[in-house]
Amino acid sequence: MVITARDLTKRFGAFVAVDAISFEVRKGEIFGFLGANGAGKTTAMRMLCGLSLPSSGQATVAGYDVYRQTEQIKRSIGYMSQKFSLYEDLTVRENIRFYAGIYQLSDARIREKTAKLLQQLHMEEQEKSLVRSLPLGWKQKLAFAIAIVHDPAIVFLDEPTGGVDPMMRKEFWSTIYEASDRGITIFVTTHYMDEAEYCHRVSIMVDGRIEALDSPGRLMKRYAAGSMDDVFLQLARKASRTGA
């Protein structure tokens, strides 16, 4: 198991942001982590990334404890979000070098990784271009490649593919399938239920709790829904917390 969480809880004063969630994520799995705004997704994810200490409960990520081994966790995970991922004022090559450096890859390893990555992405000609000048779809593919440059056990994707054209989105998901095939675990949060349908399993959070967890196919069957959108709406509309 790459993630195990047992009654993981986070309180802010009297407010229970994450309320005793339990789940496991297997190696190589594409795991969707869904919930409406305010459901507690971000708080839960921050605990799993070693950025916030739980109030109670247990969890391990890549075998490391979320209370005592947060530094090891940070070294074993990758992170990519639509909002923040690459430095726009650095070139493609500089971004790769920067992130690989942060993860303390050796110079020789960085050179080798950079060459391989540029070739895989067909971006050899753009290595000296500023990231700002790249089309959004290329940025996303580059951001994902960089997020796994240090061969993490698991990569967290925070709303990864908003806004790009459908062809680019398909290519992006093919890349994710490929990474999963290589044994990298993928943990995705998204508002878009068509993205949820790419996941092997998804969990849906409502008011700090995990209300449902299964494969998209079985969830659709259980809730007699034609799409994940329907499943999500049925569950999320029960929420008593307002997103205000």
């Binding site: 409406a36 459908p166 093919s174 998209p216």
Partner: protein
């Protein structure tokens, strides 16, 4: 009767360090009164340039456009009186409260909140509990509702919404579309842009926009009806291997991942389930599943992109 929006051969170019970028490549279309008209396209398609030209905030390089019969260049002041505009980026005053933002927008349009309250009542009552909260402190869904109220407070005839549902959760997104349909029933014409293909089905007509060109304009059913080829939804236990297998097979025209399934179009018009099952049996896929489906807007968009 004059059409709410008429666009003729609009061209917009931006000069960059390394040459020119054409945001709009001579596009033409018109919107009927009372219609929900969707501009569907990814980032960089030209959606925002188009909206800014129609809202008289940007000049086109060539072509012309009218809104409510007024020319976007010569009669821009008249246009500003009769439209509501909700830009893609949240543009209200973050440090004014909900109530103050609404009062401010009513004041600059010389509109009376009481007089026009009926139009925004449904939406405003949802954010009224937070009327003294600063706009910057609201959630995405609430900000969006407030922005819509501010765009409606002067009773516009035409509403321009630039990517209103980007980054909003599924529940708020559904509620937002329900609000748009209620506004349509009140006779307001709505031009809305989105990068999410699944929202096309919620519009009366859509224009599919890609790199400044319109790929197709029709009702969502019309666009799907013109796809012209059978689409097969296929799945098995090893989805990534299956994707590469089908992409590389000589009998396959296209194969794309679509969530739980891959969507496959075959080259031969009469080929179908037996052929796909044949490939999957030969390559020993477990739990193989094949079924015919009708094409989605996304299938159509990608097929049109390739043409």
């Amino acid at each position: 009767m004059v059409k709410p929006v008429i666009v003729e051969e609009l061209v917009k170019k931006y000069r960059m360090k390394r040459g020119e970028v054409k945001a709009l490549n001579g596009i033409s279309f018109s919107v009927e009164k009372g219609e929900v008209f969707g501009i569907i396209g990814p980032d960089g398609a030209g959606k925002t340039s188009l909206f800014r030209i129609l809202n008289t905030l940007l000049l086109a390089d060539q072509g012309r456009a009218t809104v409510n019969g007024y020319d976007t260049v010569g009669e821009y002041k008249k246009i500003r009186q009769c439209i509501g505009y909700m830009p893609g980026r949240f543009s209200l005053y973050q440090d004014l409260s909900v109530r103050e933002n609404l009062e401010f927008f009513a004041a600059i349009f010389n509109a009376d909140i009481q007089e026009n309250y009926l139009l925004i009542k449904d939406i405003y009552t949802q954010i009224e509990p937070f009327r003294d909260r600063r706009a910057g402190q609201l959630s995405g869904g609430m900000k969006q509702k407030l922005a819509l109220c501010c765009a409606l407070i002067h009773q516009p005839e035409i509403l321009f919404l630039d990517e209103p549902t980007t980054g909003v959760d599924a529940v708020s997104r559904k509620e937002f579309w329900e609000m748009l349909h209620r506004l349509k029933e009140r006779g307001i014409t709505i031009l809305v842009s989105t990068s999410y293909m699944d929202e096309a089905g919620l519009c009366d007509r859509v224009a599919l926009l890609q790199k400044g060109n319109i790929l197709s304009i029709d009702t969502p059913e019309g666009i799907r009806g013109r796809f012209g080829k059978a689409v097969w939804a296929v799945r098995a236990s090893e989805m990534f291997r299956l994707l590469n297998e089908l992409k590389g097979d000589p009998s396959v025209e296209s194969c794309y991942p679509f969530g739980q399934y891959h969507h496959v179009v075959l080259k031969a018009p009469l080929a179908g389930e037996t052929d796909l099952r044949g490939i999957m049996d030969r390559e020993r896929y477990a739990e193989a599943e094949v079924r015919p489906i009708s094409p989605t807007i996304e299938d159509c968009f990608m097929a049109l992109m390739k043409e």
